[in-house]
Subunit: 383 residues, 2 copies
């Protein structure tokens, strides 16, 4: 059957119909008064979503482009940075920082385990001559479904006093509480195809007053990703370069939907979707890759001991037209990942778990009571 695909990967995520229709509107001029009004509204609502009074800038980039801008605008070649590495994205930021000549100190944990805040504390407390200029953290590590303890790590960064905290919130913003001003997060990067409920193509970066001070002395060559002109133009409700107007108009619609649901509603829904998915996996006798208390509300990584994760994904796709994500790099075949980020409701989880049960049966796996997964999810939803 055509056009029945159900996307349960961590991005692109499902897009609501009214957002798709907004996307399909004929473009308007990006220097028109009409478009400026939309930019003004979008920027206000981005600040609401980030819980900040400071700047939130919009760039035409993938998430990686947003993270590059989030780093290179605020440090200098040779600067020491701590990079949290417990998955594919943490590792990517270490590589990115190295490409720009930063002195990268990796603070690592095994893939599937959370970063240890105490390890950051040790590095930061030992740094009495304040050589560490930034701490770079992946909040929700998409590759493993682990939510790192940003709040605690950030507290140690604040105690250090000098270092900026730079956050990859690509799959946490719009899924879990990221109170930018309350926590004093200096730079927070995210991407449109995640909690924002729109297709890929836009990156967002919030910047604190302290980060803007660091910007004044940051000399790494840059032009397209230089955030200064974005700030200057945002003050006039415009952008330095032609923005993807259709995506901005889609974003306007999506942000209004998010405001109607409210931050509390959004966060508790994602928490519920994650809990139901995790409980269902346990009831089916499948392993969870992220330990209890560190599951990402955006994505659940399931480790089906004794079964090939790729086979499960394949049956889910062929028989039930549900796209799940596989394991990346050395995790391929060991885990599959169920995305529950953005425009996802309780029914979607029930459909996914029911299809997972059916797929497991088809593969001859009998390690669970039929219906146990759906029942476990339903128990969470009934609470």
């Amino acid at each position: 059957m055509e056009n029945k695909l159900m996307l349960m990967i961590p991005g692109p995520t499902p897009v609501p119909e009214q957002v798709l229709l907004a996307l399909a509107k004929h473009p308007m001029g990006h220097r028109s008064g009409e478009f400026s009004k939309i930019m003004a509204e979008v920027t206000e609502n981005l600040k609401w979503l980030h819980q900040t009074q400071s700047d939130v800038l919009t760039l035409t980039v993938s998430g990686t482009g947003a993270m590059e801008a989030a780093i290179i605008n605020f440090v200098n070649t040779g600067d020491r940075v701590l990079v949290g590495c417990n998955g594919k994205f943490g590792d990517r930021w270490a590589k990115l920082a190295q490409a720009f000549g930063l002195d990268v100190v990796k603070v690592s944990a095994e893939w599937g385990q959370p970063l240890d805040p105490e390890a950051f504390r040790a590095h930061l407390e030992a740094d009495t001559d304040k050589k560490i200029k930034a701490v770079i953290i992946t909040h929700s590590e998409t590759s493993t479904g682990v939510l790192n303890d940003l709040e605690t790590i950030n507290r140690y960064v604040k105690a250090h006093g000098e270092a900026l905290i730079i956050v990859d919130a690509v799959t946490s913003l719009g899924a879990v509480n990221v109170p930018v001003d309350d926590w004093g997060l200096d730079v927070v990067a995210s991407g449109s195809q995640k909690g924002y409920m729109i297709p890929p193509g836009l990156g967002f970066i919030s910047v604190s007053a302290k980060a803007w001070q660091a910007y004044e002395n940051a000399k790494i060559p840059r032009f397209y990703l230089d955030l200064g002109p974005y700030k200057k133009n945002a003050a006039k409700n415009t952008t330095p370069f032609t923005p993807p107007v259709n995506l901005i108009i889609a974003l306007q619609t999506a942000l209004n939907m998010m405001k109607a649901e409210g931050l509390e509603g959004i966060f508790s829904r994602h928490q519920r979707l994650m809990t139901a998915t995790r409980e269902a996996a346990k009831a089916l006798g499948l392993g969870l890759f992220a330990p209890e208390g560190y599951g990402s509300p955006a994505i659940t990584a399931v480790a089906p001991t004794g079964l090939d994760a790729e086979q499960i994904r394949s049956v889910m796709k062929k028989r039930y037209d549900i796209a799940l994500a596989g394991g990346q790099d050395h995790l391929k075949g060991q885990i599959f990942r169920i995305g529950h980020l953005g425009f996802v409701c309780d029914r979607d989880i029930l459909a996914a778990i029911a299809s997972l049960e059916a797929s497991l049966r088809e593969l001859g796996y009998e390690g669970f009571t039929p219906g146990a997964g759906v029942a476990a999810a339903a128990r969470v939803f009934a609470q």
Copy 2:
């Protein structure tokens, strides 16, 4: 009346209905086999459009991001580059090159005049120790409506033997002949919201074998805009970072429309639209900013002596819902620009010229025989 806007700016350009509908399709996973098939087809058709057997890479960026990648991947800090400056975009590339520490030699002409190929010849012939590593040319200078003589300048670059030719073809590709392989153009950058007939959000870069050799020794720090990983992934019909899948699917549709029209058809249509627009402006007694023989097939800049160009734009917008572009920087108020790039037909030009006549009358300008502009355009279309 709502939703009657007619876009006649040089980008975003009008988007065909079937492309808008393709854009509104539900996203698919960018790592799926289905999406890889689309990427393969799109890349093949981009090569057709560029008239090249070499690579054409697709990035999530505005045109400026594409030009940055087109430059920083192939030169080193301190390298001497010649930059053609006869408008806002040429000036922008000089600034960009300076931001990355290149030794920029500007080869300038007044805004509205074409670059002088002999000036390039002089610089290139005098460079006997081959210090010039690249020549950077804006083919169609969008800010002034001037088409620079790329073919001749490129011939002098080829005679030099060492320097790469790097081309901003943002408003020339898909409007006028840019035979990448025939001319041996090393790096050609363009953007989606122009001749491609889709909204902004994608940049394209073709890269010659000679440019890939220069890439091997190019050391300017880069990550998101590093073209190596794009090439490597394109060979597997994928991208290093999440692409804007909806725009790619829209591009698939648009490129198929372009193939159906054929390169000759596309180029002769743009030539005809330009000629009709220029003839009409002359018949209305309005000045043309670009001299005869150097008009861009993408955009015509009109200099209405004795009239405020901004007033004309304002009446055209308010009374006839036609968006024209204004003059940029010091040209504001002195010129207005009629975009005729991409999804534009003869009827659109007649509508624009007829509305321009009516607007001029409304402003009390009587320097033309009523109907003379439309008649002049119609004469071109009748040929």
